[in-house]
């Protein structure tokens, strides 16, 4: 099995990364804080006022390690990478499928069905773990959502119209986020979920979800590029300049198992509390800078957890899921598989 390589996240303001031999050295105020061998890295993500020496960027690019730059709030700024990998014939096939109704829908419906089933699994788990602590009304609402989401997944898998498929996805998402708050066990009103909001997130769970989705989309994008697919040309998400549509497609099936579950467990285990978030004057909520490290560490640990891949039937780490799914998607586009086996994980 392919090895999960680390992502080096650096979020300390003023940090400077340079190369020393075959190592990356992280310095803060000219003091060496960390030294990592290049061959252990899969990617580098830096947040805010962090700089890299040109020699290091060159070595990273040469080793196929992508460096991504994010603003202080996690907004994507830029990436540095080496030559484009893979095969132009595969990308041509990707664009052809994108333009072709039936082939495009075949892949998109696998993604929507998987997304709904994975969201449903999050609710099922919450019900199993602490359903007895819920009020009757809340429990009934969760059970009703679970049933309907199963039905939506079934309809999605038979859907032949791309726009109706997007409708099913929206319906499932509305149901899911309608009861997502019941999966939270914490009673502090400062941590309550008040419906999905983004740009900006208006409560703590949304702020956490948004930050985790930023990390996930970064991983998905890297995984797609790694197998030679164009992350900007999606099947479910319409192509729009500046938007990594295929990375967003790939992320759909992975959001619930990788990000949503982690967000819930961090809040439920009180690894994050209200003080870890900053509420702005207009009600927008952001993960506080000092708390980002807590989330990044938890994210890295989560990625090291292992499961048996449901389709491949091989043990793998969660961190490799974007890569494995990207390679299965490439195989489906090449015609090695009859369709894309999106990740469905209970």
């Amino acid at each position: 099995m392919r090895k999960l390589l680390n992502t080096l996240y650096v979020s300390t303001e003023g940090a400077y990364l340079r190369r020393d031999g075959l190592n990356v050295v992280v310095e803060v105020e000219r003091v060496e804080k960390l030294r990592v061998p290049l061959h252990l890295l899969g990617s580098v993500a830096v947040f805010g006022q962090v700089s890299l020496s040109p020699a290091l960027m060159g070595s990273l690019a040469e080793a196929g390690i992508v460096t991504a730059f994010f603003g202080t709030n996690g907004r994507f700024l830029a990436r540095v990478e080496g030559p484009v990998s893979g095969n132009v014939l595969l990308r041509r096939e990707q664009y052809r499928v994108m333009d072709d109704g039936p082939d495009c829908t075949r892949i998109a419906r696998a993604i929507v069905a998987a997304k709904s089933l994975n969201q449903r699994s999050v609710l099922q788990r919450a019900l199993r773990d602490h359903g007895s602590a819920l009020t009757d009304a809340a429990r009934d609402a969760v059970i009703a959502a679970i049933d309907r989401m199963q039905d939506i997944a079934r309809r999605a898998l038979h859907e032949t119209d791309l726009d109706r498929l997007r409708g099913h996805e929206g319906e499932a998402a509305a149901l899911y986020f309608g009861v997502f708050g019941h999966a939270l066990r914490v009673t502090d009103p400062a941590l309550a979920f008040r419906g999905r909001s983004r740009r900006p997130p208006m409560d703590v769970p949304n702020a956490l979800l948004s930050f985790l989705y930023t990390l996930l989309v970064h991983d998905c994008r890297g995984a797609l590029e790694g197998v030679g697919l164009d992350p900007a040309a999606g099947f479910l998400h319409r192509m729009r300049p500046g938007r990594p549509s295929l990375a967003l497609d790939l992320m759909e099936e992975l959001r619930a198992p990788l990000a949503d579950r982690l967000a819930l467990s961090m809040l439920n285990r009180r690894e994050l509390v209200a003080g870890d978030f900053r509420i702005m004057e207009n009600g927008a909520v952001l993960l506080a800078e000092d708390s980002r490290k807590t989330v990044l560490t938890a994210w890295q640990e989560r990625k090291r957890e292992e499961i048996e891949h449901p389709f491949l039937k091989e043990r793998t780490s969660l961190g490799l899921l974007p890569h494995l799914q990207a390679s299965l998607l490439a195989r489906a586009l090449r015609g090695d598989l009859d369709t894309y086996p999106a990740l469905i994980w209970r």
């Binding site: 998987a114 898998l157 090449r334 009859d338």
Partner: protein, 209 residues
Amino acid sequence: MSDADLIALSALQHFLFCPRQCALIHIEQAWAENAATAEGRVAHERVHAVETEVRRGVRTVTGMPLRSDRLGVTGIADVVELHRAVDGGWRPYPVEHKRGRPKAHRADDVQLCAQAFALEEMFGAEITEGALFYGLPRRRSVIVFDPVLRDLTREVARSTRLLLAAGHTPRMAYEKKRCDACSLIEICRPRITGAERSAADWLKAQLDA
């Protein structure tokens, strides 16, 4: 033959081992380094350094660039020995280095014979034999470029060109002996892609799980 139509000499050997491996490497540009390929690479870096050495009437040239228009291939020879001939000229004698043992299949022989085709065109001479040097045991096997091997080499070059020109990677069923030895097994995934396993059926089954 135009330069753009030339295919890599190494593709012939990949094709004989497995057409899918050949397509993965030469069409899809896939490459996975494992211990075996890393070892091979290090060994090749040594022999591919361009050098000439003369010893006892034999000039040894490493890293010689080759081209055969008859086969439409281009590549680099590990080692070409130039043996002093009775007429006073130099007779080229290809020697290819291989890790491991002599193989039951003729992939290595075909690669060497393709080099001979190129050397014949480039030196204007007929080449009757060459050698494969195997690391295990450390021994040379002499390969005679007889009509059977030449026909096979031409046929393999033709089939490989057709495969690469089509730009489509064929499916191959999993074969333990071949696939377990292949560094591309995780990219290829022969158990899934070769066995006609249906992802659509799998998805449907997940609905009721």
